[in-house]
């Protein structure tokens, strides 16, 4: 080939299909990526492979009967889903929750946040190519929390623990000692983990400055949770709109500025520390008493509508419920954190390489159960 021929060589973008069965699509996410060599020109997300029609199912269930289905939304953190739904129904029906139950709810929600961040950070590093090692260590720590959940509700994945007006049952005697032991060992684990990873040149090279999400875009796209906070949106519903009893505890909201993958990773690590801080305070303050308000089996909230949201590990999770004074919700809408957080993915990955596409996607931390519902 002559030089002129080489100069006029045309390259063509091609479409590469990621998923729904791909090692790092976190379930059944699918995207059609248009690539120019290794550079991502555009992606088109395709959802729906896990759609079970949970919102429609809610209309066929009693208010209490829907709680087990909320477990199946974001199956990494069912406790948060339970809590968000119960908050919405309680707001709708005007039910007050006993003191001890509130504390138990906070314990569960914060443990759930730890579980989620363990998995989020582990799988994120796995997407970076750290072959399985971080994720296995994270799962080891998660296991301790799952054992505790097992104590309180006999389940390890779908807990179905929260009830409207409280929680399912009181914690067993061995729970609080186990929690205290966990609180003693975990900070050291997080330190160690962070120490091993934050100075790793390859990790920094792969994540610093990659997949920047500007603050304005984050707000405009409705991004919430650690992803938004890493972009400098200082909004955590635990502080901004305190629900349950979060106004009684002292904790900080870690925020970042750069909005890149590294900041998202760092914010999650910091949030784990803050969760531990909250748990420390909860274990000291927890009072005795009933764990469930006197609530009839079949709840008939007055006609109306309510939206309750909470700071789930992935971001703002909310339930919008319309009641027609019957025993089942007239309409139950889930504000899907994962789905809305994916809105900005397209802008974030344009111009980056295929390898970054995976890393950026991993840093958003989604669960397909919640995206597709």
């Amino acid at each position: 080939m002559t030089t002129t021929e080489l100069m006029t060589l045309k390259t063509e973008p091609f479409v590469l299909n990621f998923g729904p069965l791909h090692p790092s699509t976190h379930g059944v996410y699918r995207m059609r990526a248009t690539l120019d060599g290794e550079v991502v020109l555009d992606i088109e997300p395709v959802f729906g492979y896990l759609h079970r029609g949970i919102e429609k199912l809610a209309e066929e269930r009693t208010y209490t009967g829907f709680i087990p289905l909320t477990d199946r939304l974001d199956y990494i953190c069912p406790m948060s889903n339970n809590l968000a739904y119960c908050l919405a129904v309680e707001k709708l029906a005007g039910i007050r929750v006993p003191e001890r139950a509130e504390y138990l709810r906070v314990i569960m929600a914060e443990l759930q946040r730890l579980v989620n961040h363990f998995i989020a950070v582990g799988t994120f590093l796995n997407d970076c190519g750290a072959f399985m090692t971080p994720v296995v260590y994270m799962l080891r720590e998660r296991e301790k929390i799952l054992d505790m959940f097992d104590m309180v509700c006999g389940q390890r994945l779908t807990y179905n623990y929260m009830r409207i007006g409280g929680v399912g049952q009181d914690i067993p005697e061995e729970f609080l000692p186990a929690l205290r032991k966990f609180l003693g060992t975990t900070p050291r684990f997080i330190e160690e983990m962070e120490w091993l990873l934050k100075q790793n040149e390859i990790l920094l090279a792969r994540t610093k400055g990659v997949g920047i999400l500007p603050r304005d875009t984050a707000i405009n796209c409705g991004i919430s949770g650690p992803v938004a906070r890493a972009s400098g949106v200082n909004r955590d519903l635990r502080k901004a709109d305190p629900y349950s009893i979060y106004d009684r505890f002292e904790f900080d909201i870690p925020t970042g500025e750069a909005g890149d993958c590294y900041e998202r990773y760092r914010v999650r690590i910091e949030e784990m520390r803050q969760s531990l801080r909250i748990l420390e305070q909860v274990t000291k303050q927890i009072p005795g008493g009933p764990v469930r308000a006197e609530v009839p089996h079949l709840i008939r909230p007055p006609r109306g509508e309510a939206y309750a949201h909470l700071e789930a590990p992935k971001g703002e999770l909310g339930f919008y419920i319309v009641s027609d004074n019957s025993i089942a919700p007239y309409r139950c809408h889930v504000r899907p954190t994962s789905l809305i957080n994916l809105t900005a993915l397209r802008e974030m990955v344009r111009g980056w390489k295929v390898a970054d596409l995976i890393v950026i996607f991993g840093s958003i931390d989604i669960t397909m159960g919640e995206v597709d519902r």
Partner: protein, 366 residues
């Protein structure tokens, strides 16, 4: 007659002369490589399990020692699937072409003094030449599968091998200068002190470039499982997949064997018989590869290139110059003095260069 063969390697009066000798030892070598690969797989799986706070395979035989056998039987029984749109001939040939050169490398690796299939006087050059051929097989696999993941993986592999050949060869030249010979056997014989001490920087460069050349983590871009599913062998199954699997580990064993020969004194060592020393050293080097795999995240393709051209290549050149000067000016210098000087040079160079050179930090570089 084969004038190049040293006296120890000349066989007794075998019927048929040298050809029988070569046939016998070729088969022995292939068996050796396959057994070493099984050992490597066991070390990798159990070692990784240990490092990842899990057990690893432990159901087959004592300590799961028979796991590679079980894997092999499983993979042999699998259906051989060829995609409809694949280029059948290329798809079929690829594993063979990838497999052959790796075996050929072992022809010049000395197991003890003179115990090698062919003591070529250009041994190390032959290794460099032959090992690059395996890339051809990988690219054929990528092209012939008519799968975009495979193609991307294969392209990454070619790019990586072309870039990393440079620092690899330059690191070897340093050793050759010190040893004064290209023959693998002579290089080992020259190592009264293992060259890892005389050529610490060369060793570091060779190890890094070698890992990249055979696509071990953190440079395993061509089969980056979190991005490209399985890279170039996505569309392979059954025995053909087993061939690639074998090649992957045989390459790792080959690089370990070459590192052992060039830098760790080959078969030389006290007490134990030479061949055992050799095998032990191979596994020690391989263990370090497993260690890096469990520890480090993967680099990106542009960072991989940048590392080769901006970090390894200049350092390899500097190393070559320093070695040349040392060999020319102080040919009879006390080795221990040189060792201290060289280690100091390595530390200074690596530290200074890593100040200049950051792995991009997210910036895209071509």
């Amino acid at each position: 007659m084969m004038p190049n063969l040293p006296m120890q390697a000349v066989p007794p009066d075998w019927p048929g002369g040298y050809w029988w000798h070569w046939l016998f030892f070729s088969i022995l070598l292939i068996a050796f490589v396959v057994i070493m690969v099984m050992g490597a797989i066991w070390i990798e799986r159990r070692g990784m399990g240990r490092m990842q706070s899990r057990l690893g395979p432990n159901r087959t035989g004592p300590f799961g020692l028979l796991q590679p056998v079980a894997d092999a039987i499983k993979v042999l029984l699998k259906e051989n699937i060829v995609p409809d749109s694949a280029d059948k001939l290329v798809h079929w040939l690829a594993p063979v072409i990838a497999f052959a050169p790796v075996m050929m490398i072992f022809a010049v690796v000395p197991f003890q003094n003179g115990a090698l299939l062919a003591d070529l006087n250009i041994g190390i050059l032959y290794v460099v030449a032959v090992s690059s051929v395996a890339t051809l097989g990988v690219f054929m696999a990528g092209w012939g599968s008519s799968n975009k993941y495979s193609l991307l993986g294969a392209m990454r592999n070619v790019a990586a091998v072309v870039s990393y050949e440079m620092p690899l060869v330059l690191a070897i030249v340093g050793v050759v200068l010190v040893a004064g010979s290209l023959s693998m056997n002579d290089i080992v014989l020259a190592q009264d002190i293992p060259f890892i001490l005389l050529q610490p920087l060369g060793f570091l460069l060779f190890f890094t470039a070698g890992c990249a050349e055979i696509n071990r983590s953190p440079f395993d871009l061509m089969e980056a499982d979190s991005e490209l599913v399985a890279g170039f062998h996505t569309e392979y199954s059954g025995m053909k997949f087993a061939m690639f699997y074998l090649v992957e580990y045989a390459e790792a064993i080959a690089i370990s064997a070459i590192i052992t020969t060039l830098f760790l004194g080959g078969w030389r060592g006290p007490v134990l018989p030479p061949w055992l020393w050799f095998i032990v050293k191979i596994f020690i080097v391989f263990f370090f590869m497993v260690w890096t795999r469990t520890t480090l995240p993967r680099v990106r393709i542009d960072q991989l290139m940048a590392l080769a051209w901006k970090f390894l290549f200049p350092l390899a050149l500097i190393n070559l110059f320093i070695t040349a000067i040392q060999v020319l000016v102080w040919p009879d210098a006390l080795p221990w003095g040189l060792i201290i000087v060289n280690i100091a040079i390595m530390v200074i160079l690596v530290v200074v260069w890593s100040k200049f050179f950051k792995l991009g930090w997210g910036r895209l570089e071509v």
